[in-house]
């Protein structure tokens, strides 16, 4: 077990290095001269060269990557060109918004997905099953941002129940903050719920076909027990992997949902930063998002080995 945990943790090192390289190269190959962006279009002739030298942009690419990586390891993501402040500070300020959006979105989606996945599997090939299966396919087919727009139209503009845009920190006014988060979180949760429910249904079905379930039923356990105690526990491990991936998807989805609902989070910041050509911010956000995704998957894999200890012997 301990060997497995250490091995698994070590596998993220090359991934993190590669991710950093991809982020670095992506930003490097974006057309436009960062030095020029920094000094502005109407700078003095020698100014651009001076900045380029100062920023180390005249160095070979691998040296630039090395210098940058050394900075990143120390938690220094550079300074925003637009805000003139350290990128790491900007990220810390906006992280709570994205985290609360992500938390509510995951919460809502699991509240929908787990019961409907179980219900569909427990009633396989009945109308209940077809109903949930169809709704779930519909859930992955509807464009999330379109659903968000329809939500705004229906619940804010027509019915006036919830605010269409804006954000109040939860620490400042908890219920006011929750009100602002309900629409974006629910709109995003539909997709996640559909994906998780589909996964849960199919892994439940696989488990329900196995011998120990027949045994459990045979010894006269109530069906409720068989489903929740025996089947669900075993079906949950593969579902957990999908949930892990969906946490990553929430962060990705934050770009579009934070933009629609004007939530001042990481997603909105990266989107405006791309438009503003504020590369240090784009770079920092990309890294933070990718790293957190790697970490989430690591945690999920370790949890997985808890749910299914066989995993630790196989590798």
């Amino acid at each position: 077990m301990r060997v497995y945990v250490i091995k698994r943790i070590l596998t993220i090192v090359p991934v993190i290095l590669l991710v950093s390289l991809i982020v670095f190269l992506l930003i490097h190959f974006i057309p436009g001269d960062p030095a020029l962006v920094f000094v502005g279009e109407d700078a003095a002739p020698g100014e651009v060269e001076r900045i380029r030298f100062e920023m180390g942009l005249d160095q070979p690419l691998y040296i630039q990557f090395g210098t940058w990586l050394a900075m990143v390891v120390r938690g220094d993501f550079g300074e925003s060109i637009i805000y003139q402040r350290p990128v790491i500070d900007l990220i810390w300020e906006r992280l709570p918004v994205t985290l609360s959006f992500g938390f509510f979105s995951m919460l809502i989606s699991l509240m929908i997905a787990i019961p409907s996945g179980i219900l569909a599997a427990a009633n396989q090939n009945t109308y209940k099953d077809y109903f949930f299966t169809f709704i779930a396919v519909l859930g992955i087919s509807i464009p999330g941002f379109w659903l968000a727009l329809m939500f705004i139209f229906t619940f804010s503009l027509k019915l006036g129940w919830l605010p269409a845009i804006g954000y109040i920190p939860l620490t400042q006014d908890f219920w006011g903050g929750v009100e602002c988060l309900i629409l974006p979180s629910t709109a995003h949760a539909m997709l996640t719920a559909a994906i998780v429910a589909r996964m849960l249904r199919s892994s439940m079905l696989e488990v329900l076909r196995q011998d120990f379930i027949t045994t459990a039923r045979g010894k006269g356990l109530p069906e409720r027990w068989v489903i929740y105690k025996h089947a669900l526990k075993n079906a949950f491990a593969p579902t957990l992997t999908v949930i892990g991936f969906q946490i990553g998807a929430v962060i990705g989805g934050s770009i579009i949902f934070e933009t629609i609902f004007t939530l001042p989070g990481i997603g909105q910041m990266i989107y405006t930063a791309i438009g503003d050509r504020d590369y240090p911010v784009v770079q920092g956000c990309l890294l933070v998002i990718a790293f957190s995704f790697v970490l989430v998957n690591l945690v999920v894999d370790l949890l997985y080995s808890y749910f299914d200890p066989r995993i630790t012997y196989e590798r």
């Binding site: 579009i256 990266i270 995704f293």
Partner: protein, 274 residues
């Protein structure tokens, strides 16, 4: 036999019908449009659905119905090109990775892992930032983002196929690596690739809409569903038909592809057979 099993599932049939309708709409689009999708008419701005304009008109007085019909050709193009790209790249990488194993495998798969680490939309936006906006770049971005899925699926098929006796037989009869990979292994990898292509075709259409919404997609006046939708978002209160109908079009087509893909999976993937 295969076909019979496929149509046994009613939802698969619904999916097939939706896909066929979409394909017909794209092929017959020159005859289905009732107005010129590009023609502006400022006397007819933001008209609600009526006898003349089935789905109303947009802010420039263009017929929304005709734009959505023509948009189906754009959606087909996006789906076809981005799936082809990720299919070619992914299948090649997966074949080499699975067949040669060792270092080739480690390097290719670690790169695929790193690519998968980025949320889909984020990586697509990153690539678009490098390539610049536009429909072709958008298709390239979506194609690259989905490459690892194909690579992984093909690799795992190859791993089991290369141990089969007929591969051994091919080697003994003097086939070189190239012909073993492409003539003996590849033809047996298709089932999961076909399933993935069907489903990713739908995802490509979804992401086109999302990227167009963020202003990175097809430049105006191209009537892609995503751009029709995003052009309408500022008029949601006075002209909700502008955002409603393209969204429904997207949902129906993607729904069709997903239902059909699920049906294919049930039939083609032996692990899920009853």
């Amino acid at each position: 036999m295969f076909f019979k099993r496929l149509i046994k599932n009613k939802l698969t049939v619904v999916g097939a019908v939706l896909i066929t309708l979409m394909a017909l709409m794209a092929i017959l689009s020159p005859w289905l449009t009732t107005h010129d999708p590009y023609k502006m008419d400022f006397k007819q701005r933001l008209n609600p659905p009526s006898q003349d304009h089935f789905l109303g008109t947009d802010e420039y007085g263009r017929d929304v119905y005709s734009r959505i019909v023509l948009g189906s050709t754009v959606a087909m193009r996006v789906g076809f090109f981005s799936v082809s790209l990720s299919l070619i790249l992914g299948v090649l990488l997966g074949l080499f990775s699975g067949y040669y194993g060792g270092w080739t495998d480690s390097i290719i798969m670690r790169i695929m892992d790193a690519v998968v680490t980025f949320p889909t939309l984020l990586l697509a936006i990153g690539i678009m930032a490098v390539l610049g906006p536009g429909l072709i770049n958008l298709m390239i971005a979506i194609g690259v983002v989905y490459t690892p899925r194909f690579a992984r699926v093909v690799r795992s098929s190859v791993l089991s196929i290369r141990e089969k006796e007929y591969i051994e037989a091919a080697r003994v009869t003097g086939c070189n690596n190239f012909s073993i990979i492409f003539q003996h292994i590849l033809p047996n990898c298709w089932p999961p690739v076909i399933i993935l292509s069907t489903i990713n075709f739908g995802y490509a259409i979804l992401w086109e809409a999302a990227l167009s919404y963020l202003g990175l997609g097809a430049p105006p006046p191209t009537p892609s569903w995503g751009s029709v939708l995003s052009e309408g978002k500022d008029f949601m209160v006075i002209a909700p038909w502008l955002t409603t109908f393209p969204g429904i079009a997207i949902a129906f087509v993607v729904l069709g592809l997903n239902l059909f893909g699920d049906g294919l999976r049930d039939v083609l993937d032996p692990r899920l057979k009853e």
